[in-house]
């Protein structure tokens, strides 16, 4: 019956899973095996640069059902090293789709493995923590694969931003025929000059900022504070991105300099962690991270709950917060820190993803909060 090629997933702890390969079979995937519990949004997840260095396990068993369309990419390419699914749909059905997931994976040289008990894998990752792994359709010696998995560099201590950031500064231009774009909570009445530092920025962050009136200059992660300040920004945005925040020394140094200027600053995910580090807080690695679109976050200032989109393996240790930083949001599932602000400066950040893509739009108000800060700053 089966014509599909065999593939193996091997983990550093010695566990191996046998399944079927799909996508670009000549490629092998090496990276940190993580899981995401979102029911929709595989295209956004796979193209999110924050997943650089990671192999994604989708907990929802059917992936690929609605194909791939030109609009829902969060970057120019797929960023995950590989994907692990229960079943990759052989066909797709959606009015916007232009190609199948397998096809796109072949284009982007990404391998996937299907036909394994993804739930049992997730239970391993949940209990033992995320770990390094490898997907191969070429090698059948499981011992060899396990050994290779053990030699993949650990995520801790890795600065991966340089591999996903842009090469030179550019002006963000919205795509004209973009579809199903969320409206802002209120129509902006003016424009803001925003400098966004790209540690692996998702397109939807740029779209959201733009929809609130931001004219964005995107800077590479290597840009210096002087280069950024040279455009005289009304606000500074610190993007999401992959890797261990504590390893991104250059970024932390740049941010430390920038925040002194009193310019409104907003950070998301890695940007949030870097901001915390810049102010002297500590970060640590979570056992299996938060990746999904259903995490409840409590806004400690309003007591309102946001259902949030999350994607992070590291977090700021709440006990390490210096006295001038205040916790503004917590994750209700495990009470980890989800948002901070500075007590005097117009600086705030969140660990989760108000730009969603994929995920709920509950936290969109944070973009508005950013422009409101700029309003005050601009007088």
């Amino acid at each position: 019956m089966h014509k599909k090629p065999r593939a193996i997933l091997a983990l550093e702890n010695g566990l191996t899973f046998s399944g079927y390969g799909f996508g670009h079979l000549d490629s092998e995937a090496e990276g940190e095996v993580v899981f995401n519990t979102a029911l929709t949004g595989y295209q956004e997840i796979m193209s999110d640069p924050s997943y650089k260095g990671q192999i994604m396990t989708f907990t929802y068993p059917h992936i690929g059902n609605y194909g791939i369309n030109p609009y829902d990419f969060e970057s120019d390419a797929f960023q995950t090293e590989g994907i692990i699914v229960k079943e990759c749909s052989a066909i797709y059905s959606n009015w916007r789709a232009t190609e199948s997931l397998q096809n796109a994976m072949e284009r982007f040289n990404i391998i996937g493995i299907e036909g394994i008990d993804t739930r049992s894998l997730v239970r391993v990752l949940r209990n033992e923590g995320v770990m390094r792994g490898i997907i191969s359709a070429k090698v059948s010696d499981t011992n060899q694969l396990v050994e290779r998995a053990q030699h993949i560099p650990s995520m801790e201590g890795l600065d991966l931003t340089l591999g996903v950031t842009c090469s030179a500064p550019y002006q963000y231009q919205p795509v004209q025929d973009d579809q199903l774009i969320q409206k802002p909570l209120s129509t902006p009445t003016k424009t803001y000059k925003v400098a966004a530092i790209d540690y692996g920025i998702k397109r939807n962050i740029l779209r959201r900022l733009h929809s609130y009136g931001c004219q964005i200059t995107v800077f590479p992660a290597t840009a210096s504070a002087q280069e950024i300040l040279a455009i005289n920004p009304d606000g500074i945005f610190l993007s999401n991105g992959p890797g261990d925040p504590a390893a991104a020394k250059h970024a932390i140094a740049t941010i430390s300099e920038l925040v002194k200027k009193g310019i409104p600053t907003f950070g998301i995910c890695l940007g949030h962690q870097l901001l915390g580090l810049a102010f002297g807080a500590k970060t640590y690695k979570l056992t299996f991270g938060h990746r999904g679109a259903n995490h409840p976050v409590k806004n400690l200032l309003t007591n309102a709950i946001e259902i949030s989109s999350q994607n992070h393996g590291f977090a700021i240790d709440v006990s390490s917060l210096p006295s001038h930083l205040q916790a503004t949001h917590i994750n209700l599932n495990d009470n980890t820190l989800s948002g901070i602000c500075h007590k005097e400066l117009p600086v705030f950040s969140v660990q989760y993803h108000p730009e969603a893509a994929p995920g709920p739009h509950d936290s969109d108000y944070l973009f508005k909060q950013f422009t409101s800060m700029m309003d005050i700053y601009l007088g």
């Binding site: 519990t37 059902n65 229960k86 997730v122």
Partner: protein, 1086 residues
């Protein structure tokens, strides 16, 4: 915000009898709500006219009123209970409607009662299409183009604008009653008229058709702090045009990108806010144009619903329970997710499996009714299934419906032939254009015969993603057929693949020309057995100890077998006519008793509507099809000490033989006893030995034998196929001609069954006895007398407890026979016997050593919880230690059970009752006298008796008796005037009763039909003759239904109502809770 301190006492409104569109799901939600509110320290009173519910068990609420759900009766309850608040969102449309009525009549204000869970303005905005339309405009959301009309003339103007096909939706009707789709002007006029009539406010929405679009539903919850969560998204496999209740549905949505899904999520939350649902759950339905993604809002229900029950079971997020907490002031972040027991309920469940729901229809019960699905719901039940893939869950769901199917086709030899004629193919393609209860199997055929997915999509509107999934199943089966594979040729990985995509052992047996046992044996030898995964709300992100499981062919098993004493209770599967909520009640009571006896309780069931599939009910829940294979998989793993097959109706009973042979530890009455009662020959011999009379009978295999048996025992005869429940295909034949005709048809429909022929006892009274036996001692739980004469199925006839016309001697004989039979059959547990008395002689009609439909009714009217006692006995206790006494005739109260019929959904069906059961549900009236009780049961069953006006009488020649004349006289004495057909009027005049003559339908105009349509008739007594109602009687029945005029088709029912009317004229109605009736004797349980 914590619990509200300003309210102390809450009245919960139930949904009344099970009808199409309102089933067990409201027992599930209402029971959860009552339990939560009690735990929170509120005094909870409950009103529900449905005695078969678990919620009306006297331990669930503090005060349980089995009373009509009308503003008049609820006002009386409010006077007594003086609740601070009413929770109207747990009882379906019935509860919402009566809550609005209470508001409009000023009753809420008068007694200073507030609505919680939903507000008057939210209900109005959601229910009133005009207000709703405006609300959607405020949200910047689209609705189908359309307008409201009150007349045909107005309708004709609108139809010019929107064109055909056009949808007709009457305002304020249940499950889309009275609605339809018009494809041309004639149809439009006809449907519009029906629609206007069906609407209580005589108003109809005529709107643009969005037939063929994709349909989605979101379950939303909101709290007082404006926190909103989506519990579940559901995608319909059937396109728009088929009522959601009649659609195969899948959770979560399969073919929406995140952007589209989030757009819908935003819309649903906006709608919650705009409509103003502040505390609780609602569902919002959307249609999506598959060509361009245009989203249209269909409707929203500001209450829990059938789909919220489905979503709760599909995700493990208990919507009703949490909605009840929100209604009393808690916010989502204050409530713990009780599956994980760690994380908060303020989140959106993630699932790592696919859930499929398949409706169950019983069209075969309604001759003359076309099996066509539309915007009016027609299914009577549903089954749900879990799988790790859609294919697995879909095939499991199909075999869960118990319609003799074991998956997506390939379950009988006809599938082995791959040839189809040109003509048949054209026929098949035409059928794909119309949605019916078997469309899904037509799709299977189309795929088998090579019709392309694109063409099937065009014809049927099924999304190509689903069609492709179907095709994978068909391809896998075809592979075996083409290769003419034997079982042994299928290797382990291939067999595993077949099981992964949901093939049952029976399907594999058919495809490899062997039997189910061989496949099971072979499969197990290869080590291919299912594992059990957990429904944990979070896709394994967090640990969960709640043992809510489903089977799948994966690698890691999560279920944990304990060393505890454990008992498996087999549920009753999807609701159907003849097997409904009564059996779920018995199963759940059995669970309560086993839990009290410190047993681990394990439920296997696949009906998402029920209390039994609430993970809170049993220690462990396996959400599985009730087939031999699936049940055995659980038994193999759990190794229980006992398996209970006698609570869930025919479903588990059908499995008992195979389970017995397999060596499953069936507790209670042995398989031997069950078989002895079912096998007519053996049972006949037993009755003879015990010297208990029964009507003369015979079993036959063909028409000639039937005729000779009938000649021997004498006409009329009652005929039916053996081993068929609910009077399915049962008929009374008065002549040889009709007998022959019947037998030929029956052999065709049930080729392997014998046909039973009994002498039909005309003009006999029927009785039901429910008892429990421990093998040594037998206790009579209750005895009921039917109101309708023998010939009307016991599930359809009204019955009275205690019997109203019986001598002490007759009572004693029936008790004696019951005890004698219980001992002879070695009954351990429940026993139901049907008796008939004809001319003073007592006959046994049927013995069922299992839970009967009347067990909950008996429990509610006598306060003897027979199911719990039976369970205790089955676990080894003795009656003498339990301490129950026999039922006696000296009860101080009268309880009447009355049936509710779905005729309004099947306009062409005959309304005349017969031996084939067709009711969907039941109500109970309880009071101090027969008259007071019947007035309540009539109101609750939707046949409110008039207190004055005109009675129309039309009697068959057989019924022109002194008794009939006396009944007519009775009505005149109560002040009614009579009109009658000419023969009946002449007959009445002979007895000195004057009745105005009226023309029959075919005699000219104005006829009785005109009189009825003009509101000149307030009650109809129309007794049909012989086997079939005549054409004009049919029209009278239809007209009565249409204009909601109470109709009696039997003299017995007409007579019974007389005393009710008399009572109502002279007395104010009173209400009394079960707790008051049974002050002294409440048995503590659970």
């Amino acid at each position: 915000m914590p619990r509200r301190q300003d309210i102390h006492s809450i009245l919960v409104i139930g949904s009344g009898p099970i009808v199409i569109g309102q089933a067990c799901e409201f027992d599930y939600s209402g029971t959860q709500a009552c339990k939560v509110l009690k735990e929170e320290g509120f005094r909870v009173s409950l009103v529900n006219s449905n005695p078969a519910t678990i919620m009306t068990d006297p331990i669930i609420a503090d005060a349980t009123y089995i009373e009509p759900i009308t503003s008049e009766y609820i006002e009386k309850i409010i006077q007594k209970e003086r609740p601070d608040a009413i929770l109207p969102t747990m009882g379906g449309q019935t509860a919402l409607n009566v809550a609005m009525d209470l508001y409009e009549k000023g009753i809420l204000k008068k007694y200073n009662v507030t609505l919680i869970g939903s507000s008057v303005s939210a209900i109005k905005k959601a229910e009133d299409r005009e207000l709703f339309l405006q609300a959607m405009k405020n949200c910047d959301l689209e609705m189908p183009e359309g307008e409201f009309v009150n007349s045909l003339q107005e309708g004709l103007v609108i139809i010019q604008k929107i064109g055909f096909p056009a949808v007709i939706r009457p305002s304020y009707t249940l499950g889309g009653s009275g609605g339809g789709i018009a494809y041309n002007l004639d149809e439009f006029k006809q449907l519009l008229e029906i629609g206007i009539m069906a609407s209580p406010i005589k108003r109809v929405l005529v709107e643009e058709s969005i037939l063929g679009w994709k349909e989605y539903e979101l379950e939303v919850m909101r709290d007082t702090k404006d926190n909103c969560v989506i519990v579940c998204s559901i995608e319909n496999v059937d396109p728009m045009g088929v009522h959601t209740g009649d659609s195969i549905t899948v959770a979560p949505a399969q073919t929406l990108t995140d952007r589209e899904y989030q757009q819908m999520r935003d819309a649903a939350i906006k709608i919650m806010r705009e409509i103003g649902v502040e505390t609780g759950g609602s569902n919002v339905q959307f249609a999506v144009n598959p060509k361009n993604g245009r989203i249209i809002v269909i409707e929203m229900n500001p209450r829990v619903s059938r789909s919220s029950a489905l979503a709760s079971k599909a995700t493990g997020f208990p919507i009703a329970k949490i909605a009840a907490k929100l209604a009393v002031g808690y916010t989502l972040d204050e409530i713990i997710n009780d599956i994980t027991e760690k994380t908060p309920a303020c989140f959106e469940p993630s699932i790592d499996y696919v859930v499929t729901k398949v409706p169950r229809w019983d069209f075969e019960k309604f001759r003359d009714v076309e099996d066509i699905l539309g915007i009016q719901m027609k299914s009577v039940g549903e089954a749900m299934s879990f799988g790790r893939t859609f294919k697995e869950s879909f095939q499991k769901a199909l075999r869960s419906t118990e319609k003799g199917r074991f998956g997506f086709g390939f379950d009988s030899d006809i599938y082995l032939s791959n040839s189809i004629s040109e003509h048949q193919l054209i026929d098949l393609k035409n059928r794909l254009k119309i949605h019916t209860s078997v469309s899904i199997y037509d799709v299977c055929d189309a795929l088998r015969f090579g019709v392309s997915i694109t063409e099937i999509h065009t014809l049927s509107g099924y999304d190509s993603w689903f069609l492709h999934q179907f095709k994978e199943i068909v391809d896998a089966a075809n592979f075996l057929i083409v290769h003419n594979s034997t079982l042994e040729e299928i290797d382990a990985s291939h067999l595993r693949y077949l099981k992964e995509i949901g093939f049952s052992d029976i399907q594999i047996a058919v495809l490899t020309k062997t039997d189910e046992y061989a496949v099971r044996h072979y499969r197990k030898n290869l080590g291919i057995i299912p594992v059990f995964k957990t429904v944990d709300t979070c896709a394994a992100e967090f640990e969960s100890d709640t043992p809510y499981h489903y089977s799948t062919y994966e690698y890691e098993n999560e279920a944990i077998r304990t060393d505890n004493k454990k008992v498996v209770i087999l549920g009753s599967g999807p609701n159907r006519i003849g097997q409904g909520i009564e059996f779920d009640y018995c199963c759940v009571q059995g669970v309560f008793a086993a839990r009290n006896a410190n047993y681990e309780t394990i439920m296997i069931n696949c009906n998402p509507e029920t209390v039994s599939t609430d993970y809170d009910t049993t220690t462990k829940l396996y959400f599985e099809p009730l087939t031999f294979e699936d049940v055995l998989n659980v038994l193999d793993f759990e190794q229980p000490d006992g398996v209970v097959v006698t609570f869930g109706g025919q479903t588990p009973l059908k499995l008992s033989k195979k389970l017995h042979e397999y060596g499953a530890p069936i507790i209670g009455t042995s398989y031997e006893g069950i078989d002895l009662a079912e096998d007519r020959k053996r049972f006949g011999a037993l009755l003879q030995d015990l010297a208990i009379p029964c009507p003369e009978w015979g079993t036959v295999l063909n028409a000639d034998e039937a005729v000779s048996v009938a000649q021997h025992i004498g006409y009329p005869v009652l005929v039916r196929p053996s081993y068929v429940l609910g009077g399915r295909a049962m008929q009374i034949c008065y002549r040889e001609e009709s007998l022959r005709h019947y037998v030929l048809k029956a052999i065709e429909a049930f080729p392997n069954n014998q046909i039973l022929i009994d002498r039909f006892l005309e003009n006999a009274y029927e009785f039901d006895v429910d008892a429990v036996s421990d093998g040594d001692e037998v206790v009579i739980g209750g005895m009921m007398q039917h109101i309708e004469e023998a010939g009307v199925h016991s599930g359809d006839s009204s019955c009275v407890l205690p019997p109203y016309s019986i001598t002490n001697e007759q009572f004693d004989i029936m008790v004696l026979y019951t005890k004698r039979l219980a001992k002879a059959l070695h009954v351990i547990g429940l026993l139901n016997i049907q008796f008939a008395i004809q001319s003073g002689k007592i006959y046994v009609l049927e013995v069922n050593p299992r839970a009967s439909r009347t067990v909950p009714f008996v429990a509610k009217s006598t306060n003897v919880n027979l199911s719990q006692i039976a369970m205790r006995i089955m676990l080894g206790e003795k009656i003498k230690d339990i301490g129950v006494r026999d039922f006696s005739l000296s009860a101080k109260r009268v309880a009447i059970k009355e049936s509710v019929f779905p005729f309004i959904k099947f306009p062409k069906a005959s309304v005349f009752l017969g031996p084939e059961m067709r009711s969907t549900g039941e109500v109970m009236g309880i009071d101090s006298t027969f008259g007071k009780a019947i007035i309540k049961s009539r109101i609750s069953s939707g046949n409110t008796l008039p207190l004055k006006g005109t009675v129309f009488i039309s009697l068959s020649d057989l019924e022109k008796t002194i008794r009939a004349a006396e009944i007519a006289r009775g009505y005149t004495e109560l002040g009614f005037s009579l009109i009658a057909t000419s023969g009946t009027a002449d007959f009445l005049l002979q007895h000195g009763i004057s009745a105005e003559k009226v023309l029959k339908h075919y005699e000219g105009r104005p006829s009785i039909i005109d009189a009825m349509s003009e509101g000149k008739v307030h009650l109809v007594i129309n007794t049909p003759i012989g086997e079939n109602a005549r054409y004009d009687e049919h029209i009278i029945g239809q007209t009565a239904l249409k204009y909601k005029i109470p109709l009696f088709t039997t003299l017995a029912a007409a007579y019974a109502s007389l005393s009710g009317i008399q009572e109502s004229i002279t007395n104010e109605p009173e209400v009394k809770s079960l707790q008051e009736y049974f002050k002294k004797s409440l048995i503590p349980a659970a």
